[in-house]
């Protein structure tokens, strides 16, 4: 018998409650939560969907670490003490293990969509080389679990939700900015509205990404460089003065 210490409560109020359940071979944390739901606490609130690490719904903090419940094997955790499961703390609490992540959906709307160049061929198709899209495909692996947002101290500790869109949406912006077909420009928003300067590259987001996207090195730093080149490079500043 293992002890699971689950967060129970509503709208920010709550406490841990202990449940005992068996851990079968190869079980993941979500299996234990389901077993507790089915046998002990039918109204336990838990968000999940595919149970295969592909949809990014069951994000939680397991023993204090941001993880997907469906991909965290119980035998990979210390079993001699209770396993704690609590909701992501960076977003408003709804009930038990479920948080309100709607803020994230609002951020995405603010980022300008793809504006493709004219098709390359008469039949309306484009040509792209695999090596030119490898990086964009890395970013597009994102399952939008928001664990990177959860762990980002700019959001979690400093609550800069108004000023900073967070690592997930910097990755999204990077996927668009580096898309070979894209002709849109998002550099000014990255600097001002999206607050890329708040990121001080502690790489916490990269560490928790279940898809192993190198968020900081491959997405955020190159975008920071674009902002710097545009707005802070002395030569281009000078050129801008002459142009205007």
């Amino acid at each position: 018998m293992l002890t699971f210490r689950l967060w129970r409560g509503q709208s920010g109020q709550g406490q841990f409650q202990d449940y005992k359940t068996d851990a079968g071979e190869g079980m993941v944390v979500l299996d234990a939560v389901h077993a507790i739901q089915a046998e002990q606490a039918p109204d336990l609130a838990c968000r999940w969907n595919c149970k295969a690490g592909k949809c990014g719904s069951c994000s939680a903090e397991i023993n204090g670490q941001p993880k997907l419940m469906c991909m965290t094997r119980i035998d990979a955790l210390p079993m001699d003490k209770p396993i704690t499961v609590e909701p992501m703390r960076t977003f408003p609490h709804i009930r038990d293990l479920v948080t309100d992540v709607s803020w994230n959906f609002e951020q995405k709307k603010r980022i300008k969509p793809l504006k493709p160049r004219k098709p390359d061929a008469a039949d309306g198709t484009w040509r792209m080389q695999q090596e030119d899209i490898d990086r964009v495909q890395e970013f597009r692996k994102c399952i939008e679990c928001y664990l990177c947002q959860d762990v980002c101290h700019v959001l979690r500790d400093h609550h800069k939700h108004e000023e900073f869109i967070g690592p997930r949406f910097l990755v999204h912006a990077a996927a668009l900015e580096m898309h070979p077909l894209d002709t849109e420009d998002r550099v000014e928003e990255l600097k001002d509205a999206f607050g890329i300067g708040y990121c001080n590259i502690t790489k916490c987001c990269t560490k928790v990404c279940p898809e192993h996207i190198t968020i900081t090195d491959n997405a955020i730093i190159p975008l920071k460089e674009r902002v710097v080149d545009r707005f802070y490079d002395p030569i281009s500043r000078l050129l801008r003065v002459f142009k205007s």
């Binding site: 071979e25 190869g26 109204d43 692996k141």
Partner: protein, 604 residues
Amino acid sequence: MSQFPIIDTDVLVIGAGGAGLRAAIEASALGSKVAVITKSLLGKAHTVMAEGGMAAAMGNVDDRDNWRVHFADTMRGGQYLNNWRMAELHAKEAPARVQELEGWGAVFDRTKDGRILQRNFGGHRYPRLAHVGDRTGLELIRTLQDHGVHQGLDVYMEHTVVGLLTDSGRVSGAVAYDRERGRFKVFHCKAIVIATGGLGRAFKISSNSWEYTGDGYALAYDAGAALQDLEFIQFHPTGMVWPPSVKGILVTEGVRGEGGVLKNKDGRRFMFDDIPDNYKNQTAKDEEEGWRYTQGDKTANRPPELLTRDHVARCINREVKAGRGSPHGGVFLDIAWIKDKLPNAGDHIKRKLPSMYHQFKQLANLDITTTPMEVGPTTHYTMGGIRVNGDTQMSTLPGLFAAGEAAAGLHGANRLGGNSLSDLIVFGKRAGEFAANFAKEHGAASIDDRQVDAAAAKALAPFERGSSGENPYAVQRDLQDMMQELVGIVRQESEMRDAQERLKALRVRAEKAGIDGNREYNNGWHTAIDLHNLLTVSEAIAMAAAERKESRGAHFREDYPNKSDEFAAFNFVIQKGATGEMTMQRVPIPEMPAELKQVVEENK
């Protein structure tokens, strides 16, 4: 006036997977006001789990491919029970739908000359599946989601529809509640598109997510629309079998497309032992030819591992039952062996099948680049569904449309891998277009408050019974166990009749399901509401499966192991009778036009 808030819209789309989002985008582009309801968060729908790719005869890899071959492949795979008009439209329109995604931001893998790469898949004569590694579904849904949010769709996330509303023989709206707070809302609309996917959660071993509780079928059925072909449930041949908690999770057919082979415990490639007659002249003679096919040799035929899913699943089942299976009750799927053929095979596998590598490493502690996987059949897809018009996707109930897995017709008795994602975008678009047209041509119908109140009261009943009622999770589990055992991959008359009796008993228990607590994000309550849908579709499956006294496609009867001409001529159509009982009739399949017959002939 209704006691609940009313949301007015032109087109209501229920479901936000590939089909729902594509329908919503289309209706919105045509000027309709569109509301989208989804049980989960936006972008989480079951579409994300599709792995291998979307079939479209673009001919980028093999220029012999065209819509005629794709059409013939789809009809052969479906054993000619398909709605041939849908199969024709699908084959013709899929290339344009895939291409369109690229302009919306999808980033498919590329050929050497920079076009969309296509891969081999079961039952497809030529490499036809546009793909992104083994996460094509995620690419599809993210592309549609990101395109859609900039189009002004109203998305109602984590809402569940509990009833459709009708007025004088057409749809007029729907009643839903938000899962977060449990508050009811009435959607007043001119047309509805059902895009709720399938019903895999009626079975114990399933590759489907929790959302797949057959909601769309049951909503349409209860509102008076007809269902068809529900006896055809696809069991995907390769699901994980170990560890127990992940049993059923999908292992993409792409593994076999990239050269993976199936072996029994004696190391024998048993798929060579049983090749159906209608595929004999398209199947490799030996292992060497099969390998050459997977590597793009146009003179080679496909290995028998890439026969249709129904056949491969039955062969695996046979090996396991004959005691030639793997330690945990499956067979071996080996991609690691290609190291004998390719330099850097390990890296190649990781690049081509990244999610599979990841999934086995993390969940089974197994490295697929060095060790064979253990796999076995898992409930995967519903060929049947809401009966629709092939051109418009409108059901038999005016104003009610269906697309994707929720609709029946395209796949007949068995779906080819890769034809699902293309189904979503081809018929999602069509459903959206014709729903928008319907909304324009017909004014709003009126909402009947009695219908609204009845739907809400039924949804709330589990609270009145409280925890002294039946545990909804227990009823769901018993249903899944029963369906798996009696209505699964190999069927027979007596078991089907037994299942029908047991379903009656489960129905009685479900009607006593009770739940404590309040309405806010109460998973037990949600499960209690799902039971009605799961039971309705299970009843329909068992009824149709008992009556189809032959084996065809995904429907295999031990007591009638052969195909019968009698059953080739019609679809089983199920509808709610005048007194609320389930009725079934045989509806003849219209004759195929001469031109299409010729296409089938020339591709035999």
